[in-house]
Symmetry: C2
Subunit: 587 residues, 2 copies
């Protein structure tokens, strides 16, 4: 079983030293979230993840969720762990105190999401969609629905799902067939089949609150006729107690490459009672509130699994002896593989990506809080635009690099990485869903280039570039080598953005073919931007903690020398265009 120690020092460093968004620091509601409080929370979070949840990862892989007589049973130990998890209040961490939540900002809850992803993604998924459902209901449902459902969801007694996908509609929701028939009492009867529903059924909670998109019988076809419904597994009585079973059954659960502890369900809705959320035919907008926040969390999953893969690779490299290094001091026998250049390079590749991602994610958490909670609408909107821009980047880049890092972790472990004993190959298999679900990474890239670079508020990418230009124009002599390198790749991003802008007008297929490359270039430059912020603190506060900051500076150096240059390769490959690709005749 892989070991795991939550990276508390790095998290606290970010919380104390990188909380540099002025608008975030103006937020009244978080004035009392002190470093001491956060440290206490993260220490408790580390304990439950390291001790209680981590062992569930292997258990879930070896004893997958099963469907027995129509009922989904979670792996052994999940029930007991979930009970403790909700008793300790972890579902409610970032929820509104009005409904029983603890009101912590995403700058804190994102750290918890990372730890939980490191410990067990399968276990995490049982509560993750509850938070998604909470966000969606909280933003779009009537007060009546909120008061009836939110307290139980926040408490963790009830859980939530997102029911979007159908057999013929994954990425393309306009194709959906599930229908909603209005009843005289204002409720709807929902009928249809939903597939790939994470935590669609299980035995951890008293009730499951499904958020379902469906088409009202009198609505138009395509995406313009989609509404959102709250459909509980058990109908909830007037007094809030759990009533009779609703018309929902579990058709089957999927046998998957990984996240085997998580039940991925086919759900059949047969005239199930549902309650409309938000406006009719505007269901996709409401669902996207949930989806967008969720996509960032999927990026964090990639980060969390990368972290545990790195920790175990590092530990193994320190204890495994094999071969002699170029400058060996050993007269007989082999050196530890951590002394070998290629292993060191692989480890630094992981470390420099992980720490850069964590810093970027912290920047994004601040922006997200500003976008949701700042009192000035203009400020909220600007932050929201940055969050929208960065959502597909974080989702795709972090999950793709998560594949690279878990793959490299297997390689460092050699044959022992391929066999099941050490649990390394499971990290790859569990992480492999992250580039697929919540919109495949190609869908994210298309979303980025066609919808996120500019919107009705103007040219978002240029505002972002201006922001990072102004924040990386630093006059410290020691940081100059980094900012000089950074500027070279920022210029590539600028040229690439102009190319995308131009081609969007003249040849959209060029943009489609370049979308993944553009996302990567923007992503690598954004992570470098986060590193520059880390470096700025590292040089300024160097004497406070030399070892820590030396580590940061040298890790950053690796990122700038060996990782960031990939941004250019993506640009060069992309600008050769798409005519050959589009004209190609596949046999």
């Amino acid at each position: 079983m892989p070991s795991y120690t939550a990276p508390l020092e790095d998290m606290m460093f970010l919380f104390e030293k990188l909380r540099d968004n002025k608008k975030y620091n103006e937020l009244e509601k978080y004035k009392e979230v002190s470093s001491d409080l956060v440290k206490d929370i993260l220490e408790e979070a580390a304990k439950i993840n390291q001790n209680l949840i981590l062992p569930l990862a292997k258990v879930g892989d070896e004893n997958p969720a099963v469907l027995e007589n129509g009922i989904v049973r979670t792996p052994p130990g999940y029930k007991e762990a979930y009970k403790k998890y909700i008793e300790d209040g972890w579902t409610s961490l970032s929820c509104d105190p009005k409904y029983g939540g603890q009101g912590m900002p995403k700058t804190v809850s994102a750290f918890f999401d990372e730890m939980l992803s490191s410990a067990s993604l399968s276990f995490k998924l049982y509560s993750e969609l509850s938070i998604g459902a909470y966000n969606c209901i909280n933003h779009h449902a009537s007060d009546e629905l909120k008061e009836k459902y939110l307290p139980k969801i926040v408490e963790g007694k009830w859980s939530g799902t997102m029911c979007l996908t159908e057999p013929v509609c994954g990425t393309d929701l306009g194709l959906l067939k599930t229908k909603a028939e209005k009843q005289n009492d204002g409720t709807y009867k929902i009928s249809g089949q939903k597939i790939f529903i994470t935590s669609g059924d299980h035995d951890l909670t008293e009730n499951i609150i499904h958020l379902v998109i469906a088409r009202a019988t009198d609505s138009p076809s395509g995406t313009k006729g989609i509404s959102l419904f709250l459909v509980p597994k058990f109908v909830v009585n007037e007094d809030g107690s759990v009533g009779p079973r609703n018309g929902i059954s579990t058709g089957s659960i999927e046998s998957k490459m990984g996240i085997k502890g998580s039940a991925t369900c086919v759900l059949n809705f047969d005239e199930a009672t549902g309650y409309m959320i938000g406006k009719k035919d505007k269901g996709l907008n409401a669902m996207f509130t949930m989806m967008n926040l969720e996509r960032i969390v999927v990026g964090i999953q990639g980060l969390g699994i990368s972290e545990i893969a790195y920790q175990n690779s590092l530990a193994y490299a320190k204890e495994r002896k094999q071969g002699k290094t170029n400058k060996t001091k050993s007269t007989n026998g082999a050196d530890f593989i951590i002394e070998h250049a290629d292993i060191r390079k692989s480890l630094l590749n992981m470390k420099s990506i992980i720490e850069g991602e964590r810093a970027l994610c912290f920047w994004l958490s601040q922006q997200t809080e500003v976008s949701l909670n700042h009192q000035d609408e203009k400020v909220r909107q600007e932050a929201s635009d940055f969050v929208s821009l960065m959502t597909p980047v974080v989702k795709s880049l972090f999950t793709d690099l998560g594949m690279e890092i878990t793959n490299d972790a297997m390689q460092i472990h050699g044959g022992y990485g391929y066999t099941k004993d050490q649990g390394i190959e499971q990290l790859y298999r569990d992480n492999r869903i992250t580039p697929i679900y919540e919109g495949t990474n190609s869908v994210q890239a298309a979303d980025l280039v066609f919808r996120k670079l500019s919107n009705k508020n103007g040219d978002i990418i240029n505002k972002f570039i201006d922001l990072i230009k102004s924040e990386t124009d630093l006059d410290n002599e020691k940081i100059k080598p980094f900012t000089t390198q950074f500027k070279y790749y920022l210029d590539i991003l600028i040229k690439f953005s102009e190319w995308i802008n131009e081609k969007t007008k003249t040849e959209k297929d060029d943009v489609s073919a370049a979308a993944n490359d553009y996302l990567k270039t923007l992503g690598f430059v954004s992570v470098a931007y986060a590193w520059i912020k880390v470096l700025d603190v590292s040089f300024k506060d160097y004497n406070e903690n030399k070892n820590f900051y030396d580590d940061k500076i040298n890790t950053a150096k690796f990122y700038f020398d060996k990782v960031l240059p990939r941004a250019e390769q993506h640009y060069k490959s992309a600008i050769s265009g798409s005519s050959n690709i589009m004209n190609f005749k596949f046999n």
Copy 2:
């Protein structure tokens, strides 16, 4: 279950049009291997792989090999299929007629290796090491051993293994502990534990011939004291019949991420009778004959699995509708995903890599045959140097790109790629062993930069560069855009090679840190070289088969525009050196 159709047209194209090595064409023994004969063989090969072996892949994944009461049982159907497989003579395809083989050149048997890898890698592994053992015994053992063991191995009634790895020695064989004690009759008693032994035990053959490296009791420590032994599972009587069980038992078999149908064994040798092969203390040299040929076959495994991943991705992209393209003609509903730019790009990435690899492999097969069979020792040596140079490249590049391609295949299939039904995720899991076994890809890269670029015969890499320079300096106007692009990347390879040469003298750690990058640059340029050969024929013989050659030209164009540029990125990343990597203090 994935479907598979052997790419016979491409294989026959290579055999007929790319057999351009003059020295190969001088080989007497292959004068009678006509196109018609090869076509017949490949058509039969396609049948057995498509019809009999392909279904065994899923069977083996769902019913792994098991160890019961000390005996390894292969998955259901393996026994019957293996019987048919040897009856039809497939084990003997490339073996010497002297021992019952069919004497086909590697230019043909490599195609068979590819097909079998596409159909089922697990099944393939039961006969693959037999060929390895055959090669090793044939080159190094006494006539007595050859006559006693080879006919049965060639016939497929007995199989072979390579027993190298021990718990503390994988890459670093100098650490091995298995000992060999000489007996009065000239035989040895072998004692020790070997792990990760592919096909170490199974129920498909009457006997298993283990090739074991061990240290004679009076030999020195390290790699200089290693000898090679033939150790049969059952001792073979004087008359060639199978005698009593030898002192070998199966301790356990591994539970693995993939190739679950293949039994990966822990073998305990307890005073097992063994016969020395070759000279005492020279066992590693003999073993490397086997290893080097085997490493090329592992590269071919990566190619074969890439091919089936591509075929299924293409088929799925043609039947799955999702989203509208930029130039959609559909007024309602979605377009086939093969119309989307990013899916087309992913498919062309696969196709251009696969066909380029196959062409390079065909070039290498010709060189291998020349290195083994040409009558002029100087010609043999030169070819052997090229084979040595290209062995780590083919092993590592093809298997790493196999990971990329099977990973992309999952992505094209979306959620259906992650679930077990379609068998796509199995392709990834099966292929994942290939960058690890027969020497990890990092070991290959170190082998390349430190031992293969030059040897006692001089500067091999420069001879190779001169060869490809002379063969790609073509005056056809149509090929110019390709050769111009090629020259740019060849110059990068030249600069990179000079940098490696220089750093080998001054700072070996820089070379170690750059080794993987250098291997990739050399690999991408070598595949491009193979593409230039294909293009040359395509333009010259264009009118013979316009559709086929158009396909080749446009696929090559993708390779040159979108794949080959990666060579530069590897160079740029590498030359930033290793001092930061080597000085880094890992916590």
